[in-house]
């Protein structure tokens, strides 16, 4: 089996174990009750969303440093998976917010910065689709990714910098020890799944770039006035 698909499969298994333990075996959270179980889904998504964007940033810097197409393909993979995780994060947060805060959405700093981050990276993906020349596309995509990454520390620190409804940063030290392993297992599963998907996407993009390089020039369009 290829390494990327092996990562995806392992990620799925760990995610199923982590979510299974979190949803069915761990006691409910003291304050929120059953609603608090979304913690095992939402927190790993949030951590790994930021991790995916961090890896995308590193890959984008490598594009600008070395110019090798493999880094361009990897940047594409991690930006897309990061954006997917970001959108999932917003949906999961809304599902949790309705019974807890009484609304699906509120203009809280953490929610707002996370939504802005999703739209920013969606813009980066749009930019990539609109540029045809592979070299210019790689550079533009990498530059836009580096600039968009400035949002990531802002999202991470938003609960510290502003007064917010959202909880402080979650970690194993902020919860009871019985909740550690479901959370860690789900987080590692989500990480492997994300890296695996990004590698699959990067391989697809690498092949697409290779085909573009080999494709013959299109014949000139005939002038209708001369036909």
């Amino acid at each position: 089996m290829r390494k990327d698909w092996a990562l995806v499969a392992t990620g799925f298994v760990l995610l199923a174990i982590g979510h299974g333990l979190g949803l069915f075996f761990v006691p409910p959270e003291a304050m929120m009750g059953e609603t608090g179980r979304i913690f095992y889904v939402h927190v790993p998504t949030a951590w790994n969303c930021l991790v995916m964007f961090l890896i995308a940033f590193v890959c984008a810097v490598m594009v600008l440093w070395s110019g090798h197409p493999k880094w361009d393909a990897r940047t594409t993979g991690y930006v897309e998976v990061g954006t997917l995780y970001n959108v999932m994060l917003l949906f999961q947060g809304s599902i949790w917010a309705r019974p807890t805060w009484g609304v699906y959405w509120t203009w809280d700093p953490r929610l707002t910065t996370a939504a802005v981050m999703a739209v920013t990276f969606a813009g980066v993906m749009v930019l990539r689709k609109l540029i045809e020349d592979p070299e210019r596309r790689a550079t533009a995509h990498a530059v836009a990714t580096v600039v968009a990454f400035v949002n990531v520390p802002v999202v991470y620190m938003s609960v510290k910098w502003w007064r917010t409804l959202h909880q402080d940063m979650s970690s194993p030290s902020t919860v009871d020890s019985v909740m550690h392993w479901p959370l860690r297992t789900a987080a590692i599963g989500m990480l492997l799944l994300g890296v695996g998907f990004a590698m699959v996407r990067a391989e697809l993009e690498r092949r697409r770039i290779a085909i573009e390089d080999e494709a013959p020039e299109l014949p000139p369009v005939p002038n209708p006035l001369e036909v």
């Binding site: 930019l127 990498a142 530059v143 836009a144 580096v146 600039v147 968009a148």
Partner: protein
Amino acid sequence: MNQLRWMLYKDLLIEWRGRARVAALSTFAVTLLLLFSFAVGPDTDALRTHAPAYLWLSVLTASTLLLTHGFKLEVESGAMEGLLLLPVSPRAIFYGKAIANMVLLLAVGVVALLVTLVLFDVTPRENPIWLLLILVLGTAGVSAPGTLYAGLTARLHAAQMVLPVLLFPLVVPCMVAAVRATSLVLGGDAMGQLDSWLWVLGCFDAIYWSLCGVLFGKVIG
């Protein structure tokens, strides 16, 4: 520094020769202010409360036209290639363009601010000089990433569509800080919050003016 001065002179000279563009942009920003007031209706209190938001939205929207146009001129006539052949550092080109864009946007902002004060019947409760500082910091925050993105999208057919998609989410912190700071100057700063919003604007500017300057060489190279 000498290179930067010449680049800035070149960009400002181009804009001075086509100064009808700044007049058109100011008119556009004022038209947006009128449209906002039509959308809200004749509720004077609501208009006065939201005046800072209308002001900055009109400046931001006008900025996309300004930024796209600046690079369109260079690309259409092949001037960018000529510029790259000169022994000039890309940073000088970037900072020349970004400062020129900021100056023009500031001119649009001053016109929009004066119209806002008259149209929405707002009298600043704090020293009006703060408004000028906020305008300088806010337009600087838009023009640095805006110039970089305008360079990135200059050769695209859909440049005018892509630039706002990339720029608007990025400048949200700058816009929030500029609107809040303007509100405090217009409505009164009883709790002394103005300094913190000016710091946010200053930090935003420092990050993007340095980062975009470093990256611009890759964009036009």
